[in-house]
């Protein structure tokens, strides 16, 4: 794993993507700190971070688009398969390399609370807690986008796909407010989500039987529950989206709450998408 990690980490500084990623993140960190903290005269760094989470939408795809798509495009994945490496070595090596690149601007950003403390009272626990959550949020987003990169051979498609998914995740709770909170609406939304899930299963396995089973497993209990206890569905879809939304969960940290549930959630999402990436890389050998 260390060989892959070193090679990947170096590659981000041989081509531009590592520099572009760090430059954008730090540029916006500077702008937000100036606007919120310096101009606004407000010493809470966590507020800045909450605005900054949006910047991830644009910079994370820059970092991740190459990771696996490029290996496939240039056929270097054959080398990785032929080397005595496990698929987990490859995926983790790449993931940790990207995490290490993310850690550099995070380390620079960790200086801001110290600077702010010279001019006002800074709640260090809240600031650094939020920074940790910000870092883990970044890690989860990297894992998601790495999976997108594993789905295609083209860096551009990987980047667009990643951006689309992140944007959807970002707007998720906003979109949810458009949907009426009636039980019927929630039920229908959940059915649609189940069908999408089944379609994804079909897309990945090309096995209609498994897809139908997946759809049935989701839809039948939902329908039964709706038939007997419809009142449970009132506002349910919105609640689920709030729990699932990566960005909404970050908001707790702004109010100085160290949300352990959110931390665990970020880590689980990371592990889940790394697992999917490994499966997708492994699947290619079986194509």
């Amino acid at each position: 794993m260390s060989a892959i990690f070193k090679k990947e980490f170096k590659s981000y500084f041989i081509n531009m993507s590592g520099y572009v990623f760090m430059a954008f993140l730090l540029l916006f960190a500077g702008i937000y700190v100036t606007a919120v903290n310096l101009k606004g005269g407000y010493a809470a760094f966590e507020i800045t971070l909450s605005s900054m989470s949006m910047v991830f939408l644009f910079v994370i795809p820059i970092l991740t688009m190459r990771s696996i798509a490029e290996e496939r495009h240039s056929r270097t994945d054959q080398l990785l398969y032929a080397l005595p490496l496990r698929v987990s070595d490859i995926v983790l090596g790449k993931f940790f390399a990207m995490l290490a690149v993310l850690l550099i601007p995070i380390a620079v950003m960790s200086i801001y609370p110290l600077i702010l403390s010279m001019f006002g009272t800074v709640n260090f626990a809240a600031s650094y807690g939020a920074l940790l959550a910000f870092f883990l949020l970044g890690g989860a987003l990297i894992a998601i986008c790495m999976f997108m990169s594993a789905l295609t051979e083209s860096q551009i498609i990987a980047a667009v796909l990643s951006f689309g998914v992140l944007l959807a995740a970002y707007l998720m709770s906003g979109i949810a407010t458009l949907i009426p909170t009636t039980a019927m609406a929630s039920f229908l939304c959940l059915i649609v989500v189940s069908l999408l899930l089944a379609a994804a299963v079909w897309g990945l396995t090309r096995n209609p039987v498994i897809a139908i089973i997946a759809a049935a497993v989701c839809i039948l209990p939902l329908s039964a529950l709706y038939y007997f206890r419809a009142e449970l569905f009132v506002g349910l879809f919105q609640k689920i989206l709030d729990v699932v939304s990566l960005f909404t969960r970050f908001e707790n940290f702004i109010y100085g709450i160290f949300d352990v549930g959110a931390i665990v959630y970020y880590l689980s999402v990371t592990v889940f998408f790394l697992f999917l990436t490994a499966q997708s890389v492994e699947k290619r050998r079986w194509s």
Partner: protein
């Protein structure tokens, strides 16, 4: 060293490899010969663990490629058809990366990388970006990569494709050098290459192994006769009479030669008899001077074409049967049997051709 059993690979509805079995012994250079799309690369990818087989097994040095992939992969160095190079690295960086990924300690990796750079004559180019290297040098980096970690088997997929003649000769020399210490398997659709470098040949066509033999024995597989060409200064009647008295001659074709009074004779001779002495003395008795006498060596090309075309002409049903027979009777007898059916088909077709 490498044992392949009943290997089958299916891409969707297309059977790319149909129940191939063979054994690779240590210390030989194997040539894997076949037309484009015959399944050479697929087979090589499966042996090296880059691709999973639909069915069948591959063992490398006693390690199954599915059950113990890391141990098996450590014994094998692989150069795929398109050298898997990172263009934004220099050859030195690239080789150090591969060495580390193969689990070699830093000091040893450094030493080995330098040795291999010298062996592949990359010294002058080791600090240029791979992006800027010519195809020949890129290929060398690819071969160097396969040599790292001192694997016992080196597998090269079409190592000389796209190179100029001088580079081809250099790469061939390198392969021969490698073959002195290691087992080398190289694939190619160029017959001369295999003839020049390899000592064993495996011919694969449409996913079926149609022949596997020592390069010198290959022609004996295709027919039990060899061709002897003569130029004799005499008339046809004498020639007929003399040749009729000699044992071991299956058939004779007599044409008037280019020179006046000289006959060109082509004899089909049983492979295990050498009638040249008898012919010489018999002709000498009649005072018919033999101007030239030579065995016509059947070229690997002819053998290759006959074997692969025979297979291509065979209906798909027969190919399916091959898979089944491969699945039922295991062991080494199988490719000879497969082969003999192929050769049989060749003969049949030739006869049909003559009738037409």
């Amino acid at each position: 060293m490498i044992e392949v059993k009943n290997l089958t690979k299916r891409y969707g509805d297309h059977l790319a490899v149909k129940g191939i079995s063979f054994t690779v012994e240590e210390g030989h250079i194997y040539g894997f010969l076949g037309p484009n799309g015959a399944g050479k690369s697929t087979t090589m990818n499966i042996i090296t663990g880059c691709l999973a087989a639909t069915s069948g097994s591959v063992t490398v040095d006693g390690h199954d490629i599915y059950d113990e992939p890391l141990e098996a992969k450590r014994c094998v160095g692989y150069l795929p058809e398109q050298p898997p190079l990172y263009f934004d690295m220099t050859p030195f960086e690239y080789l150090m990366f591969v060495a580390e990924a193969k689990g070699i300690e830093y000091d040893k990796a450094l030493r080995q990388t330098r040795e291999i750079i010298e062996m592949t004559r990359l010294g002058d180019h080791q600090n240029r970006l791979i992006r800027n290297l010519s195809k020949g040098y890129r290929q060398r980096v690819g071969i160097a990569q396969a040599m790292l970690g001192d694997p016992r088997v080196i597998i090269l997929d079409e190592p000389t494709v796209g190179l100029d003649p001088k580079q081809i000769l250099e790469i061939r020399d390198l392969i021969r050098e490698l073959g002195r210490e290691k087992t080398v398997i190289l694939s190619s659709h160029i017959m001369q290459e295999v003839q020049a470098v390899c000592d064993r040949v495996m011919i694969i066509s449409q996913g079926v192994l149609v022949a596997s033999a020592d390069i010198n024995d290959l022609e004996s597989l295709i027919s039990r006769n060899s061709k002897l060409c003569l130029s004799v200064r005499c008339d046809e009647a004498t020639a007929d009479e003399v040749l009729g008295s000699i044992e071991g001659i299956e058939s004779a074709e007599i044409h008037p030669g280019k020179q006046e009074g000289v006959l060109d004779i082509t004899l089909s001779v049983l492979r295990d008899v050498d009638p040249r002495d008898d012919i010489f003395f018999a002709m000498a008795d009649r005072r018919c001077p033999i101007i030239a006498m030579q065995y016509e060596e059947s070229k690997l090309e002819d053998i290759f074409l006959r074997l692969t075309e025979a297979d291509a002409a065979a209906p798909a049903v027969e190919a399916e049967e091959d898979v089944q027979s491969a699945a039922t009777d295991e062991g080494e007898a199988e490719y000879t049997s497969q082969f003999s059916t192929a050769a049989y088909r060749v003969e049949e077709e030739n006869e049909e051709g003559k009738e037409e």
